[in-house]
Structures are given as structure tokens and as C-alpha cells.
């Protein structure tokens, strides 16, 4: 039994379909021209394909971001922008180039899968669509009766202009790719489309700049160095990838440390097992639903993970670890102690102020015009839900918990946030219902 939820069109499927259409089209148009691929041109195309395959297997993954293959994308862009000096390559239509890139990416993906490593089909599809856009733009679309590729051979004394044109074409490719990926993750996380795309562009900006210029560099240097340009000019990008990977690993470590900090109260027997993790998961889902940007989501997540840290200062655990059942003054003190510990790090000040305000009732906003941070209101609701439902989703526990929360609506809890909780819960129960049926 399928659950049709109105006419929502999945960005995931659009991307996959577009990639398929491109592959079929490229194969169709290139089949007649395959005899152009011989001798030096063939060797050239093959070496680019090799670089793409290797690039697919040397992937880059960073917590909180999709893993991707910058070397592969740079090599694909470079192939798109390359013209072999004698002019053979100029005759190669974009269909052959796109087909070559698609084949190489498929081989790389296959190798990756055979090695038991992950290979995101959607990510590969988005990158293929992006590169195809650059290819068509650079090699197919006539500007004033000539394609950009033909123009560039006439600008022999103005190679910098060629560089600019190459940068523009590859930036278009990256833009298309980021738009598709943004749309996909917005739908997956039920977050606002524009916000997600903006986050996507911001997060990928550095690496994208590096690979766009690398693509152009190889295309330009090929003029003087022929194929040697490919391995040589991938060196700066390798350095960049190394740096970004190191950054990724320290982010992962940071996340693990926050995790350890968050499980302190569990281990000390103050809170039920997994409480903080569940509250964090719920809070993040609500934050996305309310359209918070990625940076604030990260802070919300950290604060939610650490929201019970203050209990560590208690002499005896609260029964069941549920702060909800403690007296308001005690709740306040726990929140304050937790915020103090976090503030002493000197680097998590925002998280500390979120913690400080997590127990304040919503009426303080209404009656005294106090400015309660939205993340604090979210954590208050998520924490109440987890305490009341005992961490069990669905069933009677969930509806009883929601009933109790609705009793405090507008007084204890922010109605907007509670609405968001209802939406998030409805989505998860729907998602849970599909495999069950």
C-alpha cells in the first residue's frame, strides 16, 4: 500500500531522471561520431577519464555535509573546457565528452561500491547534470555564430579572457549542481528550500572555488603542457582537499566530544539512557521545520545534547531524571549550573545562553516582552515531550504527552513550536507506517 501525499514532485527523482536523460541523449548523439576518438585525442580523453575514476574513489566526507568527489568534478570540468591545440578536440561534440564523463563516473562509482564504500547516486547525478550544463554552454551554444570554444582559439593574445570565460562556465555548472543538491536535502529534511540552498552554497563555497579554478587551470595549461597539465594542476587541489579533510576530521572529533559530554548525566545515573540524544534529534527536526539556518541548527543541537548537564551538580538524582517533574526553582538552578559549565569553555557562549533560558515559561515573552531565544523554546518543548512520553514514540504515550503539552500551550510553551512538534511527529509516524504496511 502506498501513501500518496498529494502531488509533491521529488527533487531526488527529477535529478536522477535528468541525469538519465543526459546519458541517453549523449549516447545517442555520440554513437555516430565515435570514430573521432582515435590517436592522441583518445589517449587524452582516456587520461581524463582515469582522473575522474580515481577522483571518485578519493572522496571527501565531512560531518553534516554530503560526501563528494572534488577531484573527479575538477577533472570532468577540465575535460569539458579543454581544447587540444591542433584542433582535433575542438571537433569533439559535447555529447562525446558528456558520455565519457558519465562512463568514467559510473566506473568510479562501481569501483567504490565494490570496495564496500558508499557512493551517492543522487550526488553523482547532480554533478553530472552540472558538468553537462557547462559542456553545452561552452561547446554547443553559439554566441554570435561561434561557440565559446571556437572563440577562445581566436583570443590567442588575450588568454586571461579565456580564463574568465572558463570560470564563468564552470561556475554555472557548480551553481546547477548546488541547486539540485540543495533541493534534494531540503526535501529530505523537510526544511525551507531557499534556506537550504543558501546553506549549501555557503558550506560548499571554498571547495567549489578551488575546484572551479582547478578545472579552468587545467584547461588553460593544457595549451602549453598538453596532458601533463592534468596531474600537475591537480596538485593544488589535492592540497586543498587534504586541508578540508583535516578540518572535517576535527569537526567529527568535536562532535564526539560533545557526545561524551552529553552522556555524562546518563553515565552518572541522573537521566534515563539516551534522553539527551532523543531530545536533540527532535529539536533538530523542529528547528529545520521552523526554517532555522544550518549554523543555528548546529547550536540548537549542541544545546539540546547538553541541556541536562547541570544535573551533574545535584547531590542526588531527580527521580527518573525528568527535569519536568522538578520544582521550577530547581529546574532553573539545573539550567544555570549547566550553562555555567558550558560557559567556562569560552567557546560555546551561544549554547550557554540557550541553556540558561531553557526552562523559562513562554508567558515571559508575552507578559514581560522578554526575549527568549527560539532554540530555548524548542528545547523546552522537546524535553517536555521526551519526559512525558518516556522516550517512546507513537501510541498512547505520545498522545498523552501531547495532551499534557497542549495544556501548557501559550503559558509554558510557545504555540508555534508546539505546532512544529505536531508536524514533526506526524511525519515520523507516517514514515514509520510505510514500511509497516
Amino acid at each position: 500500500m502506498k501513501d500518496f501525499r498529494g502531488p509533491t514532485i521529488s527533487a531526488y527523482w527529477i535529478t536522477l531522471m535528468a541525469a538519465c536523460a543526459i546519458v541517453v541523449g549523449a549516447a545517442w548523439w555520440s554513437i555516430d561520431n565515435l570514430d573521432l576518438l582515435r590517436g592522441q585525442t583518445l589517449a587524452l580523453v582516456l587520461s581524463f577519464m582515469l582522473a575522474i575514476v580515481l577522483g571518485e574513489t578519493a572522496r571527501l566526507s565531512i560531518v553534516g555535509r554530503r560526501d563528494t568527489a572534488p577531484i573527479s568534478t575538477a577533472a570532468a570540468l577540465a575535460l569539458t573546457l579543454t581544447s587540444l591545440s591542433p584542433g582535433d578536440m575542438a571537433m569533439l561534440s559535447s555529447s562525446i565528452i558528456v558520455a565519457a564523463i558519465a562512463v568514467a563516473m559510473a566506473i568510479g562509482g562501481l569501483v567504490q561500491r565494490l570496495r564496500g564504500k558508499p557512493f551517492g547516486l543522487a550526488d553523482a547525478a547532480a554533478r553530472l547534470v552540472g558538468v553537462s550544463v557547462a559542456c553545452v554552454l561552452y561547446r554547443q551554444v553559439p554566441f554570435d555564430h561561434r561557440t565559446l570554444l571556437e572563440w577562445q582559439s581566436t583570443w590567442d593574445d588575450r588568454r586571461w579572457l579565456v580564463a574568465v570565460v572558463m570560470l564563468v562556465a564552470s561556475s554555472m555548472a557548480m551553481l546547477v549542481q548546488l541547486l539540485l543538491e540543495g533541493a534534494m536535502s531540503a526535501q529530505r529534511d523537510h526544511a525551507s528550500l531557499l534556506r537550504t540552498i543558501a546553506d549549501e552554497v555557503r558550506a560548499a563555497f571554498g571547495l567549489t572555488t578551488a575546484l572551479v579554478t582547478t578545472g579552468a587551470l587545467i584547461g588553460l595549461a593544457e595549451y602549453a603542457l598538453s596532458i601533463v597539465a592534468l596531474p600537475l594542476f591537480l596538485v593544488p587541489l589535492l592540497l586543498t582537499q587534504f586541508a578540508v579533510r583535516r578540518y572535517g576530521s576535527i569537526r567529527e572529533t568535536y562532535r564526539q566530544t560533545i557526545g561524551a559530554l552529553s552522556s555524562l548525566t546518563d553515565r552518572a545515573g541522573y537521566t534515563p539512557a539516551g534522553h539527551a540524544a532523543r531530545v536533540a534529534e527532535l529539536a533538530v527536526a523542529m528547528g529545520r521545520d521552523l526554517g532555522m539556518p544550518q549554523r543555528e541548527i548546529l547550536e540548537l543541537e549542541r544545546a539540546a545534547l547538553l541541556h541536562d548537564l547541570g544535573q551533574i551538580a545535584l547531590r542526588e538524582p531527580i527521580p527518573g531524571g525528568a527535569t519536568l517533574l522538578a520544582a521550577p526553582a530547581d529546574q532553573q538552578r539545573i539550567a544555570h549550573d549547566g550553562a555555567e559549565i558550558v560557559r567556562r569553555t569560552g567557546v560555546l557562549d551561544t549554547v550557554a545562553s540557550i541553556l540558561e533560558a531553557q526552562t523559562s515559561p513562554y508567558r515571559q515573552v508575552r507578559e514581560f516582552g522578554e526575549d527568549l531565544p527560539v532554540p530555548s523554546r524548542i528545547i523546552k518543548v522537546a524535553n517536555a515531550f521526551d519526559d512525558l512520553s518516556g522516550g517512546v514514540r507513537g501510541g498512547d504515550g505520545e498522545s498523552r504527552a501531547m495532551e499534557r503539552i497542549h495544556l501548557g500551550l501559550g503559558y509554558e510553551y510557545d504555540p508555534r513550536v508546539v505546532d512544529s512538534l505536531s508536524r514533526v511527529l506526524a511525519r515520523t509516524s507516517r514514515a514509520a507506517a510505510i514500511p509497516a504496511s
Binding site: A216, L225, L232, V235, A243, Y247
Partner: protein, 431 residues
């Protein structure tokens, strides 16, 4: 040439890894505008250096960088590098007449830089020159190979590929991104270190009388590790282990931690489990893998009567032996409710008496050497803190001796499941 140095100046000014950029740019200019030009570019780039720089330092920088630049230029010519790159045609010719000489020039530049820097350090601070040159070459050498390749790319793009000044933008863009990522890495690393300390803060919130103990042990561990000339990674691991060695105390109930009478046998077993629990809590953090051994075994004894595993002698991980000494020394020099803090010489006598029994004599020796070089002030608490009675602190050597004499307790520590964990598991099942 004026245009050349002007356009490079822009990309040169006021960056933290400015040096690497300078090096690439110098190398490229050594080829494009020759030794004299490279000297001029070098001088220009250090002249416009922003920020407060002492005049003498500025003069030295200008001199050094232009010197290094012209050396690179001369070596390039000497190594058979082509001075008219635009006439070189074909990739293999480019590699031979430009690529290889560029690499040679880069090596020369690296050595010249190291020698000059070591020289000025010799003059200014009296640091021996030979060791310093070796150290500089070791730390910066590999990076220079990379700079060599990038410098070559720069030249190729500039002249044979006819891109001209715009190549500066193209070549440096990926490097700027790399630099940005390195800076981010540094920021995140510092943030992480601070956050790691929050773990300690949390324990000390629960057990206020141990405030500062972790940080002091971490310092002592670092000093001892220095005396033993450990490598930088090992040193860092030992320091972190010292910092977090008592983290597991978080799982010990407050009534036991803050007990005002001697602990019962059950409570002693419960308390002793903090080593194992600490390791369990931190085992998910990849970064701390190297520190876990030290935390797990910091209550082992050299004579094999410690806990949890009863390891003896060199079986005990090095980090754990270091922490054991640091831990005992800090405990002795801290005021307890039942005795004042010992002055350093008295504490050292006490520690030395325990060498070979509780503590590793080698580590004790390292501590003594470390205390010759560092000041140590005993931690004296206000009387007010001490009005209530207290059990013997678990870090005091006396406590270690007591457990060493009670084999029955050590068997229980090694084999009994941690009581508290099983309690919370029952609680979970009941939910």
C-alpha cells in the same frame, strides 16, 4: 616588472601563512624576472607587510627575503633553467629546462631560508645554529617540495600558456581555500580543546574539593614527559590522559565522593571503578584513543598490587606510570582535612620512598628533574573548607597502600561489574 610586484603584493599582505605564499611567488619571479627582479619582489612584499613590526625585524625581513629570492634566481640559471621561457616549446622541453631547475632553485631557497633564520636566531637568542637548521629543514622541507611544483605551475601558466598576471588569481585561489581550511581547522581544534576541558569542569562541579587537581596533574604529566623527551604526539596524549584521568568519578554517587567518614568495602570497590568507567565514557572519541591506556591504568602499582588489572613494572603503560607519579605528588602537596599540604621537598622524599613499590623509579627520577626546571606551589586550602571530616583521598599514597594490602578488594574491583551501571540498567528495564 613594476606591475608584476604590484600585483603580487596584493596577494601577499598580512596572512598567517604568508610565508608559503611568499615562497611560491618568489620562486615564480625568480624565473620570470630573474634574480634581480626576484630580490625586488621579495623586498617589496616584505616592505608592505602590514601590522606592527619592529623596524629591525622589518629590515631583516626585507634583507632576508630579497636575498633568498636572488639566490633562487641564481640557482635557477645555474641549474640550466631557461631564461627565455617563451621560446621553450613542448611539454617535455618545458619540464626539463624549466621544471627541474625550478625544483633545484626551490631546494636552494629552502636551505638558504633555514640557514638565514637559524643565523639570526643564533645572534639574537643564542640558539645553536646546526640543530636549528636541521629542525627548520625537517619541519618546512616537505612543504617546500609542494611550493616548488606550484611555483612551476605558476611560471607555465604565466608565460607559455600566455595567461599573464591573471594566473596569480587562478593559481592562488585553491591555495587560499586550503589556507582557509587550515585556519578553520586551527580554530576548531582550539574550540575542541576548550570543550574537552568542560568534561573536567563537570567532574569538578560534582566533586568540588578536587577542583584544579586535573589541570595540575596534566601540567605535571607534561613536564615529566618532557624530561623523558617524548615525541610531541605522545606528550599531547599523556597530557590529555592526565587531564581526564579522573573523569569516571562522574559515575560515582555524590554521597561516596563527598563522604565524611571512611569508605566501606563496597564503596571502595565502587570508587575504584572510576578508571574503567572513564575509559568507557571516552572510548567513542577517536582523538583520545592514545590517552585511554593511561586513564585505564593510572591506579596500577609498580609492584603489581594495583588495580584494575594488577599489572606490574613495564607492563603498565608508560602514560599510566607517569600519571601515577603526578597524581600522588599533587595529592601530597594538597591540603587534606586530615593533614596539611606537604612542602615540595617533603613530598618528594615521600614519593622517592615509594619508587619501586607503588611508583616507577624512572618516572620518579623524571619528576625530580622536571621540578628542577619548573616551579611548584603546593595547593593550600582555606581552613573553612576543612571543617567537616573526610575519608582518605583516593589519590593519597596511603589509599593506594591500603588497597594493595587488600587482595580481596582488588579481586572484586577487577571482576565485579560496575554496580552503578547495572543499577541504571535495571532502572531502564523497569521503564
Amino acid at each position: 616588472m613594476g606591475l608584476v610586484s604590484w600585483s603580487w603584493r596584493e596577494s601577499n599582505v598580512g596572512h598567517r601563512v604568508q610565508f608559503s605564499f611568499t615562497s611560491i611567488v618568489l620562486l615564480a619571479s625568480a624565473v620570470i624576472v630573474g634574480p634581480v627582479g626576484a630580490a625586488a619582489v621579495g623586498a617589496a612584499s616584505s616592505l608592505v607587510q602590514t601590522g606592527r613590526v619592529k623596524p629591525s625585524v622589518r629590515v631583516f625581513n626585507v634583507g632576508m627575503i630579497s636575498c633568498v629570492g636572488s639566490i633562487a634566481g641564481l640557482v635557477y640559471i645555474y641549474a640550466g633553467g631557461s631564461q627565455a621561457v617563451e621560446t621553450v616549446d613542448g611539454p617535455s622541453a618545458l619540464l626539463i629546462t624549466v621544471g627541474i631547475p625550478v625544483m633545484v632553485a626551490e631546494v636552494a631557497q629552502c636551505v638558504a631560508n633555514a640557514v638565514l633564520l637559524a643565523g639570526v636566531m643564533r645572534v639574537a637568542n643564542g640558539i645553536p645554529m646546526r640543530g636549528q637548521v636541521g629542525k627548520l629543514l625537517e619541519t618546512t622541507g616537505p612543504a617546500y617540495i609542494g611550493y616548488g611544483i606550484i611555483g612551476f605551475l605558476f611560471v607555465v601558466l604565466w608565460i607559455p600558456a600566455k595567461v599573464g598576471w591573471f594566473s596569480a588569481v587562478l593559481v592562488l585561489a585553491p591555495l587560499f581555500v586550503a589556507r582557509w581550511a587550515f585556519v578553520q581547522y586551527g580554530d576548531e581544534l582550539r574550540a575542541h580543546e576548550r570543550t574537552l576541558n568542560a568534561l573536567v569542569t563537570a567532574v569538578e562541579t560534582k566533586d568540588p574539593k578536587s577542583a584544579g587537581h586535573s589541570a595540575r596533574v596534566a601540567d605535571l604529566c607534561e613536564w615529566i614527559a618532557e624530561s623523558l623527551s617524548l615525541g610531541s604526539q605522545e606528550l599531547q596524549d599523556v597530557r590529555t590522559a592526565g587531564m581526564l584521568h579522573d573523569l569516571g568519578k562522574v559515575a560515582v554517587p555524590s554521597r561516596v565522593l563527598r563522604s565524611s567518614r571512611d569508605l566501606s568495602d563496597d564503596e571502595l570497590v565502587l570508587f575504584a571503578s572510576h578508571t574503567t568507567i572513564g575509559v568507557e565514557m571516552l572510548s567513542d572519541i577517536d582523538f583520545l584513543k592514545g590517552s585511554l591506556d593511561g586513564i585505564a591504568h593510572h591506579h596500577e602499582r609498580f609492584d603489581g598490587h594495583g588495580h584494575p588489572d594488577g599489572l606490574a613494572g613495564k607492563q603498565i603503560p608508560l602514560a599510566a606510570r607517569i600519571i601515577a607519579v603526578a597524581d600522588a605528588f599533587d595529592a601530597l602537596t594538597t591540603t587534606r582535612a586530615y593533614r596539611p599540604s606537604l612542602p615540595v621537598p617533603d613530598a618528594l622524599i615521600e614519593i622517592e620512598q615509594r619508587a619501586g613499590r607503588q611508583l616507577d623509579p624512572e618516572m620518579v627520577g623524571a619528576l625530580v628533574r622536571a621540578l628542577h626546571r619548573h616551579e611548584w606551589a603546593p595547593t593550600v586550602h582555606e581552613e573553612g573548607m576543612l571543617t567537616r571530616g573526610a575519608a582518605v583521598d583516593h589519590d593519597d599514597p596511603e589509599a593506594s597502600d591500603f588497597l594493595a594490602s587488600r587482595q580481596d578488594l582488588r579481586v572484586r574491583i577487577a571482576h565485579e561489574p560496575h554496580p552503578h551501571t547495572s543499577m541504571s540498567q535495571t532502572a531502564r528495564r523497569a521503564r
